[in-house]
């Protein structure tokens, strides 16, 4: 292997791998790092990165891991979520913070612990998830994450257990001395018939010029139900690459709501396999890049079993010189007869220099499939704007009102009213006037 010329890759390889003392894990880390070193960062010729150029990132050098993470000051107000006081796991720059977390009085059937702790106690149940080798050309960050992530979340819900209180996961980016890279890994498993509500947040505190990567695997056994709310509100300077891979057993149901608000460069991969008959996935999301933000969302849904259903409603609003990217790829695999697949992505450009690239893709290899997909990019409706103004609502307020209304379809069906209101408020202050 020759000396890599790319500063990003070179600085990454200069750091030692976190020692685990577990043979299979060390091996997986080494191999994933080697794959990362070989392929480096993908360029825009790789289809999955077509609209997200990494040239500027490639020129930056990052320090791997924050040695001071355990003692960094964190704004507690940034972590508060009204009405939610259940179990909570908090990570600062990728490192578990027991002092900010709440793991007391976990309800029966819920296992929740930091990955570092789970590995120290009994690594074997994690072997399958953490042994994975990432082989796709676009997988650079997943490889990096697999090599470097020493902490994260292990969450299990026992078969039949219905967890009433939402579980919160918070990833906080805090300013460090240099440019910092942190990596976190999440493994979630819901047993047969288990139910869970999960609220996952990325928040920033201070000027955090950093790179965070998060790889999450979520497995739902038959008849399990998961409500997953994802709020990405990272620091304005932060680069975040996160990936959620969902696997749904028979009749399992996932309802996901995502708000992509923060960060300078953000990439989110949401991958789902509807592997069991009758599995159902509903995703709702909104991305709001402003200024020079770049937010890229890649949805990949695979219908693999009989009578599976997926419905995805995403909205994008871009202002300033911001860029939004949305790719919604749905595959109905051979034999997945009776699938129902729906995807809608509507986008709003609030400035002539903003750009949103959207690409719905539908591949159907099965019979008796119902599918609908559509994507639009447009501007605010001038007639509606005039209507509001003619009633006395000032122009800026009218624009915000219409923009908020455009996004509303995404949060409307969130059952938790208090949370919905909070997210509505969060969105409202982030929407450009």
């Amino acid at each position: 292997m020759s000396e890599p010329a790319v500063p990003f890759v070179a600085s990454t390889l200069a750091a030692p791998l976190p020692p685990s003392g577990i043979g299979w894990l060390d091996e997986a880390r080494r191999e994933n790092l080697a794959a990362f070193a070989d392929a480096g960062l993908p360029d825009t010729r790789v289809e999955a990165w077509k609209y997200t150029a990494l040239r500027a990132l490639a020129q930056r050098r990052f320090v791997q891991g924050d040695a001071q993470a355990a003692t960094r000051e964190v704004d507690a107000a940034a972590l508060a979520l009204p009405g939610l006081d259940g179990p909570r796991l908090v990570f600062v720059n990728g490192v578990f913070r027991g002092d900010l977390s709440d793991l007391a009085n976990l309800p029966a059937g819920l296992t929740l612990q930091p990955l570092s702790q789970a590995l120290a106690q009994d690594a074997e149940p994690l072997r399958f998830a953490l042994s994975r080798r990432y082989r796709e050309r676009g997988d650079a960050f997943a490889r990096l994450n697999a090599a470097q992530a020493a902490d994260g979340v292990v969450l299990r819900v026992a078969a039949g257990a219905k967890i009433a209180t939402p579980v919160q996961l918070a990833f906080v980016g805090v300013a460090a001395e240099g440019e910092l890279a942190w990596h976190a890994r999440t493994v979630v498993e819901l047993g047969e018939g288990a139910e869970l509500a999960l609220v996952e947040r990325h928040v920033g505190s201070g000027v955090a010029r950093q790179l965070g990567t998060l790889v999450a695997d979520l497995v739902l056994r038959d008849d399990a139900r998961l409500s997953h709310v994802l709020v990405q509100d990272a620091a304005p300077e932060a680069v975040l690459v996160h990936r959620h891979a969902l696997q749904l057993g028979a009749r399992a149901h996932v309802s996901l709501h995502a708000l992509e608000l923060g960060g300078s460069l953000v990439r989110h991969d949401l991958q789902a396999e509807l592997a069991g008959d009758g599995a159902r996935l509903d995703t709702r999301g909104v991305f709001v890049p402003r200024g020079r933000q770049h937010i890229d969302t890649q949805l990949a849904i695979r219908h693999q079993a009989l009578d599976t259903a997926s419905s995805s409603t995403w909205r994008g609003v871009a202002d300033g010189r911001a860029r939004g990217v949305f790719r919604g790829a749905i595959v109905v695999a051979p034999g997945a007869d009776g699938a129902d697949a729906r995807l809608s992505n509507k986008n709003l450009l609030l400035s002539p220099n903003a750009e949103i690239d959207t690409k719905p893709e539908l591949e159907i290899y099965a019979d008796e499939v119902q599918a609908a997909h559509g994507a639009t990019v447009g501007q605010l409706d001038e007639r509606a704007l005039f209507y509001l103004r003619s009633r006395g609502i000032p122009q800026a307020e009218a624009r915000t009102l219409l923009t908020a209304a455009f996004c509303r379809a995404v949060l409307d069906d969130l059952p938790d009213a208090a949370l919905r209101e909070h997210l509505d408020g969060l969105l409202a202050v982030r929407l450009p006037a």
């Binding site: 409706d381 005039f386 003619s390 006395g392 122009q395 009102l401 209304a405």
Partner: protein, 255 residues
């Protein structure tokens, strides 16, 4: 008082209004009638400040202020209301929320205290009663999925809540059956007062059987070509707009 003098306006490079003059005193109801293409809707749009309507000459003074210099929202705060011929559907914006935002924006602009939700609800209930409409419209998104009649009733209801001092009804009768027309007219009549003026723009005389005007004007070729009392409307109904061409002023419909 509304004073329009020698108003000329252009849309997409085409001259539509060509010297329109009109004075409306407080409490008066003026009907503007005219054939298609005469400039009836242009008048309402120019007065409410819609973009794309270029005023090339003339003036509009509203209680002594230059109305044309104001942004649409400032005109609304100054008491000007346009009931749209085609009310716009706004998905995702709740009707009640919209109306409260509008009322409070106007009050704020006028330096009045904003209404809290209890005060607003009380006001809305009163107005619903006067308008004799059900509160079902309130819970829906603005005009979304409304029938033609519901949209027009919603316009009048908004007018009742916002209490403008000049209401311009732009072909409010178009697309209404007789029952809906009576209901809308009843709402307008309930809002007539010595302080409130109305400009009722219509193609047909039918609406004026229910909203009886003080003055009727015929707009043709971008100008008022005939003015009179309510009997003028009946003459037009009887003889058609072609009658104007023979009767003194040329209609100028060739514009």
């Amino acid at each position: 008082m509304l004073k329009i003098e020698n108003l000329h306006a252009r849309v997409e490079g085409k001259d539509i209004l060509k010297g329109l003059s009109l004075t409306v005193k407080p409490g008066e109801v003026h009907a503007i009638m005219g054939p298609n293409g005469a400039g009836k809707s242009t008048l309402g749009n120019v007065l409410s400040g819609r973009e794309g309507y270029e005023v090339t000459a003339g003036s509009v003074s509203w209680n002594g202020i230059d109305l044309l210099a104001l942004e649409p929202e400032a005109r609304a705060a100054a008491g000007v209301f346009l009931a749209f011929q085609y009310p716009v559907e706004i998905p995702g914006v709740n009707n009640t929320y919209f109306l409260r935002a509008a009322l409070n924006a106007q009050r704020k602009a006028r330096g009045e205290a904003e209404l809290d939700s209890m005060q607003f609800l009380k006001l809305v209930r009163e107005k619903l009663k006067i308008m004799q409409i059900s509160d079902e419209l309130l819970h829906r998104a603005v005009n979304e999925g409304f029938s033609g009649g519901e949209k027009k009733r919603n316009e009048i209801f908004q007018m009742a809540v916002l209490e403008p001092r000049l209401a311009i009804l732009d072909e409010t009768d178009s697309g209404l059956d007789i029952d809906a027309l009576k209901q809308v007219a009843g709402g307008v009549n309930a809002l007539r007062s010595p302080e409130r003026s109305f400009l009722v723009v219509t193609h047909y005389q039918r609406l004026l059987d229910y909203i009886v005007p003080d003055h009727v004007h015929v707009l043709a070729g971008g100008r008022i070509v005939e003015s009179g009392d309510k009997t003028l409307a009946h003459k037009l109904e009887e003889h058609g707009y072609a009658w104007l061409a023979e009767h003194g002023e040329p209609a100028g419909a060739q514009a």
